[in-house]
């Protein structure tokens, strides 16, 4: 199980029985629209607040994943979920609807892989037959909490990122057909002294690099082992920095393997600055796009490193720098 310092190797090979991705209007116009299970044309989703809309996105993703897995809610023992809202209300409220025993997690935008790693661990250790990992983010609710009101006319710099409106969920089971959760590397918190909340990609890049290095050190694999190595939401700016840092540290990852969910999710002409971000960025791209490609046989081995910035509006106002974390999960088709 424990492989060297910080990696779990799942010998029972838990299966991702099903996964689901739900998105908003901006994602519907994005580059990966066909990989979503459900897309909404309205950011309110017919609700009267952005927070309720986010909760609904998460509920839908979880329900679709359970349905696609051919299970009922009662068959799932544990629900692991996290989001960006204060006190992770989206997760808690979705868990209230689902009625599945719930473990709340918080890793900011790394919550997707934190949840998947823990779900894999629960199933692998026999603590659960089936576990559901989910996460969500909403552009407007995140802007409201972390930045300015959505209609405020402030100018954002080119390093800013666009929070993905969406939710992703993965149902992990003991046996069945589907991609296997093979290993997970839990990241350390890294803070390189960046304090600009409009430059999250730069802040998170070192955390991603640290976890990637730890993963290859612990597993003794070479980067070429994977068909795709995808970081969570570094965006164009952070991706560039992460690639250069990896190079500097002597870990050569071919550019055609190394990619970023925040770059992939939107089209070039969408006004998203450096790229996508938010919990749903890594979640929807992994649970939608990458797992679809894996099921089609286009990729066989995938490493996702979801990156999270552990700041709060309060810590930023008190001039704290941004601590960041990244968790990696390896998924293989057979």
């Amino acid at each position: 199980m424990l492989q060297r310092h910080q990696t779990w190797f799942f010998d029972k090979r838990p299966v991702i029985l099903a996964s689901a991705a739900v998105g908003g209007p901006f994602e519907a116009n994005g580059a990966l629209a066909e990989d979503f299970d459900m897309l909404h044309g309205d950011i309110w989703l017919g609700e009267d607040s952005f927070e309720k809309a986010e909760k609904k996105l998460l509920e839908q993703a979880c329900e679709i994943a359970i349905r696609k897995g051919g299970l009922k809610k009662e068959d799932v023992q544990f629900f692991l979920c996290g989001d960006l809202m204060n006190q992770t209300i989206s997760s808690g409220f979705a868990a209230r609807t689902l009625g599945i025993p719930y473990l709340g997690i918080f890793g900011a935008c790394s919550s997707s892989m934190e949840g998947l790693a823990l779900a894999g661990l629960l199933v692998n250790s026999g603590a659960a037959e089936n576990a559901l990992a989910g996460t969500s983010s909403h552009n407007a609710s995140a802007e409201k909490q972390f930045r300015y009101p959505t209609e405020y006319g402030g100018q954002k710099p080119p390093t800013a990122q666009w929070t993905v409106t969406g939710a992703g969920a993965a149902l992990v089971g003991k046996t069945g057909a589907g991609p296997k959760v093979v290993a997970a590397t839990i990241g350390r918190v890294v803070d390189m002294g960046i304090s600009d909340p409009f430059n999250m990609g730069t802040a998170m890049a070192p955390a991603a690099v640290d976890t990637i290095q730890a993963h290859f050190r612990d597993t003794n694999l070479s980067p070429e082992y994977y068909d795709v190595i995808a970081t969570g939401d570094l965006g164009k700016v952070g991706h560039h920095i992460a690639a250069d840092l990896l190079d500097k540290h002597g870990l050569k990852i071919p550019p055609e393997i190394l990619t970023d969910c925040g770059i992939k999710i939107y089209k070039e002409n969408q006004p998203v600055f450096s790229g996508g971000s938010g919990c749903a960025c890594a979640a929807t791209v992994t649970y939608g796009h990458f797992l679809n490609r894996m099921r089609k046989g286009e990729i066989k081995r995938l490493l996702v490193i979801a990156t999270g910035a552990l700041l709060s509006p309060l810590s930023y106002q008190q001039s704290e720098t941004i601590p960041c974390v990244a968790h990696a999960v390896a998924i293989e088709s057979e």
């Binding site: 209609e151 006319g153 100018q155 390189m192 960046i194 890049a205 920095i241 250069d244």
Partner: protein
């Protein structure tokens, strides 16, 4: 980043800052200035036109026309905010749409709209001045200081 902050960083952090800075896309400062000039100027021209309108048709003089002119501009900015236009203008124009009185109206209206979901008292009432409040606070403080200085000079027989 100020030098004071930089001194606190470890050598590794400082190295990273140099590496990151080199890869950061540059803000288009020149174009931002041009856009701010154009939009800020256009808003001012519209303001001027409204002022002339009040002076020509409603018998205001140059001084008294100020208040209704500002009121109209604030109304237009709040309307544009509600229609979801002003934030797009703000991204394009930067200071051009933030500095005139319309920017102040946008700051208040956007906060009020945003927090409507928490109710009229705790939501709208509490949060309306979230962004605009500092302008009022420091505006009043600055006016007070200036008034003190002017009064002192007068008392001393300066003017």
């Amino acid at each position: 980043m100020s030098n004071k902050k930089k001194k606190k960083l470890t050598p590794t952090q400082q190295q990273f800052h140099i590496l990151a800075k080199a890869r950061e896309p540059h803000r288009p400062v020149f174009w931002n200035c041009i856009r701010a000039f154009l939009v800020g100027g256009t808003i001012s021209v519209i303001g001027q036109a409204i002022q002339l309108f009040f002076m020509t048709y409603f018998h205001f003089d140059e001084k008294t026309a100020g208040n209704p002119t500002v009121a109209v501009l604030i109304f237009l900015a709040a309307l544009a905010t509600g229609l979801g236009v002003y934030d797009h203008l703000g991204q394009w124009a930067g200071a051009g749409s933030a500095v005139p009185v319309t920017g102040f109206a946008n700051a208040m209206a956007s906060a009020a709209i945003e927090h409507r979901s928490e109710g009229y008292v705790l939501g709208v009432g509490t949060n309306m001045f979230k962004l605009a409040g500092p302008v009022i606070v420091y505006g009043v403080v600055a006016a007070f200081v200036v008034a003190l200085v002017v009064t002192t000079i007068k008392v001393l027989g300066g003017i």
